[in-house]
């Protein structure tokens, strides 16, 4: 019987993913416009604060950082990944990459890596920037914002993968990503505070995908609940279960939907 023997020196999952991630990062760095935009966007966001004369009660830095979480995750992570996945699909690169030893998950993660790295870099740039302009204050908790960032990146990656199913070309991503962008703008509490909505509406908004990320970031960085109450470390954690659960539920739903609707090759 011709059988399979365990091959010698098979690359680990990590090594395979890093190989693709390294190549994708090199591709990103070769695109000067993308690199400049990645750095410029967070710096402009920070520079906007003194220019617009924001501030007032207490340092505004943490609130800027919370806004940066939402803006970066939606406009950079989600939008960029929809564009990248669709472009790679239409160029037939995704199909090529999954015809070897890379698993489908490794292909998607490796392809997403540069975008995810830029996401983290942008959030760090905003945090550093607010310190530079003297608007920084110590967070109430660091774990909740970290969970928000990592969970947010996982959710955005999965939602981006799912969104490619109704995005035919990289250009049409400008339109197909609008529903989430609009939903996030209205319901995340970044643009309009949730407390200014009727309670039932606000509670419904707390079940949308981006809001729990903002809520967790705000609890940790600002020490403030979704309805504006100031909390300390214990208070932040006491208010955290609902947004944690909602975020986990969205990740679970997206993890089920994304692999079912994702297409690796263009429609023929």
């Amino acid at each position: 019987m011709t059988t399979l023997t365990a091959p010698a020196a098979a690359p680990t999952r990590l090594r395979r993913t890093l190989a693709l991630a390294g190549a994708e990062t090199r591709l990103l760095l070769r695109n000067r416009t993308a690199v400049v935009n990645s750095v410029l966007l967070p710096l402009l966001l920070v520079a906007f604060v003194p220019v617009a004369g924001l501030g007032g009660d207490g340092p505004v830095g943490p609130r800027i950082a919370v806004a940066a979480f939402a803006v970066t995750l939606v406009f950079l992570t989600y939008y960029n990944l929809v564009t990248t996945y669709v472009a790679r699909r239409e160029e037939l690169v995704l199909q090529r990459m999954r015809s070897g030893e890379l698993t489908p998950g490794e292909v998607l993660l490796g392809t997403a890596t540069p975008t995810l790295l830029v996401t983290v870099a942008q959030v760090l740039l905003v945090l550093a920037g607010t310190a530079v302009i003297g608007e920084w204050s110590a967070p109430a908790d660091v774990v909740l914002p970290l969970v928000a960032l990592v969970g947010g990146m996982v959710l955005m990656t999965l939602l981006a993968a799912a969104s490619t199913s109704f995005t035919r070309t990289a250009e049409s991503a400008q339109i197909t990503t609008l529903p989430l962008v609009v939903l996030a703008s209205v319901t995340s509490g970044v643009v309009v505070p949730l407390a200014s909505f009727p309670d039932q509406v606000a509670q419904a908004m707390r079940l949308t995908p981006i809001e729990p990320i903002v809520e967790l970031a705000r609890l940790g960085l600002v020490g403030q609940t979704w309805d504006g109450r100031s909390v300390d470390w214990a208070g932040a954690w006491a208010a955290a279960p609902q947004p944690l659960l909602v975020l986990a539920a969205w990740i679970a739903v997206a993890a089920v939907v994304a692999p079912r609707v994702f297409r690796w090759a263009p429609r023929r």
């Binding site: 190549a23 090529r96 030893e101």
Partner: protein
């Protein structure tokens, strides 16, 4: 036109151990359309198996199951004894795939592309060797974007063979290549086969199938309608005798076993018994002192057999 009954099972000659690829009653359905309607074949180590057929015959749909890129709707596929979809992790290190159309990141150089792919494989061969094999050494630092179509195809092929796979699936490996590149590809495939690999390929070039394949199957509308060696497939079609009857010659007598396709003066005969028919014809011409102008006698070609069945109606 009468064909011998086509074989739809494809068995290799003699006992050569267990097959590297076993396909049994494979089916693939897209909604209401059944693209592959129950095909079976085996490919053994050291053997090249070619799937022929017009576009839309179901070749690529069948290969996608072998490649582990799509599940079968029915039947089974075994690559080295394992299911290429369910046992993906076990099969992939031994499988080399060249897709019919595939892309590579346009802004990586040739060398970076080979390095990337090699880093994802078990036991990848050295970069320089892989580049030299497909004559791309001089193009190593050129971005994929700037390669010609033929160069890109050669790069793709060297990636498919980079892990020294025991099973190689090549979907139209030489489409769009110039004759010299095509010979380079044939050389690479032969070398891999000599090292014991089993190769499944599709092609639109019948001379490529004749050149490379030990066995051939012709698909039509999702089924294998003809299979065997190139010679066996050619033999399903009658041989042809052509000549021009000289002026004033007596009428050609009926020759048993020969069918007159075109009558005098430009005679075309079809026969499945070329030698005896030709002998009788020549004896008759000799007896009447005739010289048959432009006399040609030739066995059917693979191309003739292919054209006779490949584009026909659904046999069912």
């Amino acid at each position: 036109m009468q064909l011998t009954r086509p074989r739809t099972d494809v068995r290799p000659r003699g006992d050569v151990g267990s097959p590297a690829v076993e396909v049994t009653d494979l089916r693939r359905r897209y909604g209401d359309v059944e693209a592959v309607r129950g095909i079976s074949f085996e490919v053994h180590p050291g053997e090249v198996f070619a799937l022929l057929g017009v576009n839309g015959a179901g070749k690529t749909s069948a290969l996608e199951v072998l490649e582990g890129l799509a599940p079968a709707s029915g039947g089974t596929v075994r690559v080295l004894g394992a299911d290429p979809v369910a046992d993906r992790a076990a099969v992939r290190p031994h499988l080399g795939v060249l897709l019919q159309s595939s892309g590579l990141p346009a802004d990586l150089t040739v060398r970076e592309t080979v390095r990337l792919w090699g880093a994802t494989l078990t036991g990848a061969r050295p970069e320089d060797e892989a580049l030299a094999q497909v004559d791309l050494t001089g193009r190593a630092d050129v971005r994929v974007r700037s390669l010609s179509g033929g160069e890109r195809r050669r790069l793709d092929l060297t990636l498919a063979l980079l892990g020294s796979p025991r099973v190689v699936v090549l979907d139209e490996p030489t489409t769009g290549l110039d004759p010299e590149s095509r010979r380079t590809v044939w050389g690479l495939v032969r070398r891999r086969v000599a090292e014991g690999a089993a190769v499944v390929l599709t092609t639109h070039h019948l001379e490529e199938a004749e050149e490379l394949a030990d066995r051939i199957a012709v698909m039509r509308a999702g089924r294998i309608v003809l299979s065997g060696t190139a010679a066996e497939i050619a033999a399903t079609q009658p041989a042809t005798i052509r000549f021009t009857m000289p002026a004033g010659a007596p009428a050609l007598p009926a020759v048993p076993g020969a069918e007159v396709v075109t009558a005098a003066p430009r005679v075309v005969l079809h026969t499945r018994a070329l030698q005896p028919v030709l002998t009788r014809l020549l004896a008759w011409a000799d007896a009447h002192g005739l010289e048959l102008g432009g006399l040609q006698a030739r066995a059917a070609s693979l191309e003739q057999a292919f054209l006779a069945v490949a584009d026909g109606a659904d046999p069912s």
